[in-house]
Amino acid sequence: MASLPSPIVESPVETTGNDSRFRLILRRFLRRRLAIAGLSVVLLLFAFAYIGPHFYKWRYDQIDFEAFLQHPSATHWFGTTQNGFDMLALTMRGMQKSLIIGLIGAVLSTGIAAVAGATAGYFAGWADRAIVALIDLILVLPGFLIIAILSPAFHGRTWLIFVVLLAAFQWMITARVIRSMTLSMKEREFVYAARFMGVPDWKIIFRHILPNMSSFLIIDATINVSSLILAEVGLSFFGFGVQPPDISLGTLIGDHWESAQTANGYQFYFPAILLVVLVLSVNLVGDGLRDALDPNAGTAAGKGAGSK
């Protein structure tokens, strides 16, 4: 009989480690051309808003006394306003604010949703009932109106209050989803294992439950960016949102919408078109992320073979 080989020490079989998981997601994402296009446009718009001003000779608060209400030209690419401000500089400045509001608001809203939803789902009992009641309450409140009514209160103060308010009316649906995901996840054995080890509850939530929903949270935050930008624009348009001297795409559109029908329509169209392009691209990125992170929900081809 041949000599026996020494016992084989078990070694990992599959090679889907975490970095290759990342690569897999990247590959899935890169496969979606629209998502790539969206991502490129979003990045370009960021560069436009934040880097653009450094390479442009007009500043947003600089008045050109020789050019009031001028159409786009070589000196003022997007033309000027009746007060002699440069439209391109204003648009870049406004885009900055809209982007940052969208981003902070989205992260904030998803964050609130995550904490509230996970708390409700994990602890059940009265905490759950209280949070669910709060969600139901805020859902029936007209958010737009309330922010509008409150807007005098943050007049002249930082626009951050406005962002917080926007987020406060945005998180509820997500929180509900997270709550039900938590309900099922807390029955998972690795959560039991942690509990029986003596890991404190809040650590379980932040170490085991929320990280396992990260795909969902990332997708949700991305989609929130576009809806928050739209909400900001809507409110600012009516003068309830971003307040002067701050400028956002919303205030720009609000200040110039009347010119849309006139020969000076450029004042309206530049910010408006950029807004549409921005929201559309963010949504494309969101869709692409969903397909990449959560292929079962999307259209990506089925995984592997069902060999059993």
Binding site: M1, A2, L4, P5, P7, I8, V9, E10, S11, P12, V13, E14, T15, T16, G17, N18, R21, L24, R188, E189, F190, Y192, A193, A194, R195, F196, M197, G198, V199, P200, K203, R207, H208, P211, N212, S214, G302, K303, G304, A305, G306, S307, K308
Partner: protein, 692 residues
Amino acid sequence: MTQSRPLLEVKSLSVTFPSEAGPVEAVRGLSYHVMPGEVMGIAGESGSGKSVSSLAVMGLLPRRARIAGSVRFEGEELLGRGDKDLSAIRGGKIAMIFQDPLSALTPVYTVGDQIAEAVQVHQTVSKQAAMDRAVELLNLAGIPNPRERARAFPHEFSGGMRQRAMIAMAIANNPKLIIADEPTTALDVTIQAQILDLLLKAKEATGAAIVMITHDLGVMAGFADRLTIMYAGKPLEAGAVDDLYYRPRMPYTIGLLGSIPRIDAAPGTPLTPIEGSPPSLTNLPPGCPFTPRCPMRVDLCRKVEPDLVRMNGSGEEHFAACHRSAEIEQKNLTGLDIFPAPADRTRDFSRVSDVPVLRITGLKKHYPMVRGAILHRRIGTIQAVDGIDLEIREGETLGLVGESGCGKTTTIMEILSLARPSSGAIEVLDRKTAGMTAQDRFQIRREISVVFQDPMASIDPRMPISDILAEPMLTHGVPADERARRIGELLKMVGLRPEHTSRYPQEFSGGQRQRICIARALALKPKLLVLDEPVSALDVSIRAGVLNLLEELKAELGLSYLFVAHDLSVVRHISDRVAVMYLGRIVETGEVNCVFNHPAHPYTQALLSAAPLPDPRKERARRRIILKGDLPSPANPPSGCRFRTRCQKFADELNDQQRQKCIDVDPVLCEHGNAGSDHRAACHYAEGGKLN
């Protein structure tokens, strides 16, 4: 042998799926034939291609699968036929039974309608006649009150009942061939016995041949006439069951048989584990697929894939695919010759001390049954656990056995949550949980840890191994350098490489993950490990390794185990004492040999007789007690003895007067057999009948 033509003839069947990682070769060159009226078994672990091959036969594979070879049914080629053609055969001449009947039954139609529809598709009969036939079939399938039950929806049926309904549907058109794909895997032992019994009856009633697909060599032994063992998409050995079980001629089959704990073997009989895990089906290397795990491999194995060749010594239809099977045959090698025998682990009972690590007295757990989302109305009480006593001493393994719904999960959840029980007491290391402060409870968690059934679900997939193993120590304030040292130590202890700490759980196979779970459970050097079905989610060939590891660890570290399982043979293999649970009560308990050799309670007797044995001759000769019906609802347990609705003794042996006692008086656990032994049973008419 009769000279008739084979009913089904599969020749060099191969199935390939495209995937992101390259083509998955799920089946590679499978050939078999089925004669009319015989039972042909296909056995293999998950990923062996056994299910895929039968789906290919039925034409049920997704379109992206590439299928080659030939499948002839009654001489006619099935492969490449249109779906329409095949539908005429499917459900007519060939019927299929799946593992999960719920997915095979449409939830929105009643069971009766679905069977009637199956009848009407293949026979021209009136609606009423079809319905009558459906009721008749349900009756044949052993469903009580068939006329009434025919109007029920699938979700109103229990798992066993659904499988009965599936069988009723399968035999509706007198098929020539029934393909049963893991028909009993999701079911409890006693229900499994019912279903296997029913399948044999159905076979007799229709004269159909059966292709039986299962991973369970115990079930196969008593059921199949001939058997093909598959591994990594290939048949490795084929032949009559007796040849395969008594004269296996290739290392995988030999290893598989040696790695199954047997219910008729004394505790501690060594199992020969097969190292490693099955290969991935993409980019299979050339040569024998078993090479990396085979203790007999030679250079040739790596280069040339062996073909199935006829064995001369045994039956005329015995084939094996191994370069060295002639040698195995000649020298009549067995598992103990081929596989490195695990260290001798004769039981050392002297290690069992009298100090109890866990004591449970009169534990009850009742859940309110509520209805209504807003106004919670209490409509009853589920008596999940109803007064049980357990004791585990230091160094002892207590096996807790029972079928699903018996309350064993509730029991361990109660123990592990260390909460104040609603009734009764739980004492861990002599300290009652009821009086504990949060701080005490936290401290005591060091002493008791848990390993769950599903290793895929019980570790956080987002953490690298080092974090997973560090978590308990981090929680209990073990300093960082000590943690790092211990992690390496733990990995070595469970047979994994210490270098693997930065890897993620997805990179490990099921067996390896279970080892990680065990390592995590040992991190804080606990006294008691609660093992909740720790091997039942693992493949057969992997189980033995994990069981051996558990035994080694126990001997080395002086651990105590609470081993919860539904598989009696595993429990027998590993336990010192055993407690059998039924409907929230312990019905029999005692030293494992006493209970298994002389079961006193009728339920234990039935359980033991239903547990399949990987031994065809014994299996055929056995008298099997088939319990009637399903587990009653724990919300409304029967009066008197809880087992009486299914008790074979109550039904067959007792007279009316004796029966009345079972109905009126709740039996208590009382000593049985030799005085002084702790063998106790809760039955008025307990006896020491010897089984098998």
